[in-house]
């Protein structure tokens, strides 16, 4: 009796435990120096995004009426802008804005894209055709135009930029996920699972999803870079976050009229964008190298 209870308890932990196993993930990442470096940079940037408001020397929207367009100095490390705001503080605050917009946008993309992709691949047939033709149609319009049209419809604001960017990359994301799901669907273990009589929801949940998480993660990272660039681009043409929000693209837009008078205005936000995007992209690349089904055997 005692024996039996013991094994049952053991069995329960067996069956429950690692539905999402450890992936041997971090070990692999460590192997990749680039990944490590970019991860560190990203971590640093995220920390700045979180604590930026506390370490910023000035209020990012407060003008110093005595200091319009001042170059970098001890008082204003990166200088001030045309209406006397501290550029350094604005860039620090902007980190959060930019990251939040980009990550939320990708969140939208991933949520919708994954759903469409997985359903399309799993259900197949007419639904697949229909969804994919819709994606084709959306793909036919350049992402930025689609985003512009959406912003035009919703009105320019940070939230709407987020939604627009999120929506505009759904088609390509959905296609990637669909392809990844199809690979999993045609794999031996899904067939084996079906042959046992496992129900569909179980297969999607425990066979398909865990196996596309890697791919999902990689694509997600790769899309974040694009989303940051798009956020900034919308800001740059004045359709993203609205002034005085210290969003980097918006700041660049404000700085573009001062290229020859105040180089720092256009230089630092641009640099900030480049560094973040570079770090995210490198991480994405490294993750792809690690998880690419082709390099992985």
């Amino acid at each position: 009796m005692n024996e039996v209870t013991k094994t049952v308890a053991h069995g329960a932990t067996q069956a429950k435990s690692p539905i999402f196993p450890k992936l041997a993930f971090w070990g692999k990442i460590k192997q990749q120096r680039a990944a490590k470096l970019s991860l560190m940079v990203l971590l640093l940037i995220s920390v700045i995004g979180i604590i930026g408001p506390w370490i910023a020397p000035y209020d990012p929207t407060e003008s110093n009426y005595e200091a319009f367009l001042q170059g970098p100095s001890a008082k204003h490390v990166l200088g001030t802008d045309a209406i006397g705001r501290d550029l350094f503080s604005r860039i620090l605050y902007g980190t959060r804005v930019t990251l939040v917009v980009a990550v939320m946008a990708v969140g939208i993309t991933v949520a919708a894209g994954t759903m469409i992709g997985v359903i399309s691949a799993y259900v197949g047939g007419f639904i697949d055709h229909l969804l994919m033709r819709i994606m084709d149609i959306l793909l036919a319009l350049p992402g930025i135009i689609l985003a512009l049209a959406i912003v035009a419809a919703l009105g320019p604001s940070q939230t709407n930029a987020m939604i627009a960017i999120g929506i505009s990359s759904i088609p390509s994301f959905a296609r990637l996920i669909r392809a990844a799901t199809l690979v999993i669907m045609s794999s031996g273990y899904v067939e084996a699972s079906r042959s046992i009589g496992t129900p569909s929801w179980w297969i999607i949940l425990f066979q398909v999803l865990p196996n596309i998480t890697n791919v999902l993660f990689v694509y997600m990272t790769l899309f974040v870079g694009g989303a940051i660039l798009d956020t900034a681009a919308l800001g740059f043409i004045g359709l993203g976050a609205q002034p005085p929000t210290p969003e980097w693209g918006t700041m660049l837009n404000e700085g573009k009229d001062y290229l020859s008078d105040a180089w720092w205005l256009a230089t630092y936000p641009g640099l900030a964008i480049t560094i973040v995007v570079l770090a995210v992209n490198r991480l994405g690349d490294a993750l792809r190298d690690i998880f690419d089904p082709r390099t992985q055997k």
Partner: protein, 327 residues
């Protein structure tokens, strides 16, 4: 005589191929009127060249694919007409082992989890699961420590054992083994074949054993069906078939099989040409373009499978079966 545990009659399967919206779809005749039956405790071997429809047959029996025509009776019940839930219930008694042990195990799940899946799918009470799990893993020659590991930690032979354990855990009556040893090295292959034979004895299993390797089939099967382009062209007990193959194709197949005997002096029949594509098979007997003893009739008329003394063959040479005695 008792009724066969599995009986397949006139099974047909088409795959629709369509290149685009504009094109007329054309069909691949993967299975074309298959008749075959297995009795309890027997091993039915199915041999044939690549693409002749062996796997398709296996999948149709399990209803992983829906046949277009024909009957599949398992323990007297017609599977082809069942709905989804009934099929799932039947699968409890009918399981499959796959060719590639590297692909059929989900890399993200532990062995324990993989083996539990069928138990959950068929609502085995939670209390019994662990005991079954441990018992089964030991039956296939592994230990329960292995349950918490991931597939990539095992060698090919061990993975195939896990695959067998998964098929076995519900204690089915029938196992369809689709080339279970083709991906394995000779030295490992023999371990698995032995295991399969042991299990058959222990649980009085029935096997449908699919392979393209004649030696393996010859070793393990009781009855052998030879397939060519979606059709069974010869079906007999192993001894009869290997001892006196009737169909020219079977003869060629047997003679082409390389054997490890340096003094072997048998005459080799080397077939000319390739296996034709199943999407546009030749008229008449499908084998006639490659056949040595082809006759005029072969080009126009499809021979039927006819039986004598438990030896069936589909060939015009034996249509009256009088020829058997004379040959």
């Amino acid at each position: 005589m008792t009724t066969p545990i599995l009986e397949v009659k006139g099974l047909c399967k088409l795959f629709r191929m369509k290149k685009g919206w504009l094109q007329q779809p054309h069909y691949v005749h993967a299975l074309n009127g298959i008749d075959v039956s297995v009795y309890e405790g027997e091993t039915l071997g199915i041999v044939g060249e690549s693409g002749c429809g062996k796997s398709t047959l296996g999948k149709c029996i399990l209803r992983l694919l829906d046949p277009v025509q024909g009957e599949i009776r398992f323990q007297g019940n017609e599977i082809g007409k069942m709905n989804k839930n009934e099929v799932r219930a039947v699968r409890r008694n009918m399981q499959m082992v796959f060719q590639n042990p590297f692909e059929t195990l989900n890399p993200k799940l532990t062995i324990g989890h993989i083996l539990t899946e069928p138990l959950i799918a068929h609502c085995v009470p939670r209390e019994q699961r662990q005991a079954l799990l441990e018992e089964t893993i030991e039956i296939v020659g592994m230990s329960k420590q292995h349950l918490s590991r991931y597939p990539h930690e095992f060698s090919g032979g061990q993975r195939q054992r896990i695959g067998i354990a998964r098929a076995l855990i519900l204690r089915p009556k029938l196992i369809i083994a689709d080339e279970p040893v083709s991906a394995l090295d000779v030295s490992i292959q023999s371990q698995i074949l032995n295991l399969l034979q042991d299990l058959q004895e222990q649980f009085s299993l029935t096997y449908v054993f699919i392979s393209h390797d004649l030696s393996v089939v010859e070793h393990i099967a009781d009855k052998v069906a030879v397939m060519y382009l979606g059709e069974i062209i010869e079906f007999a007990e192993k001894e009869k078939l290997f001892g006196r193959p009737l169909h020219p194709y079977t003869q060629a197949l047997l003679s082409a099989k390389p054997i490890t005997d340096p003094d072997d002096t048998r005459e080799q029949i080397v077939l000319s040409g390739d296996l034709p594509s199943p999407s546009n098979p030749p008229e008449g007997c499908k084998f006639h373009p490659r056949c040595r003893s082809r006759m005029e009739i072969c080009k126009v008329e499809l021979p039927k499978l006819s039986e004598k003394e438990g030896h069936s063959v589909a060939c015009h040479l034996y249509q009256s079966f009088a020829a058997i005695d004379s040959s």
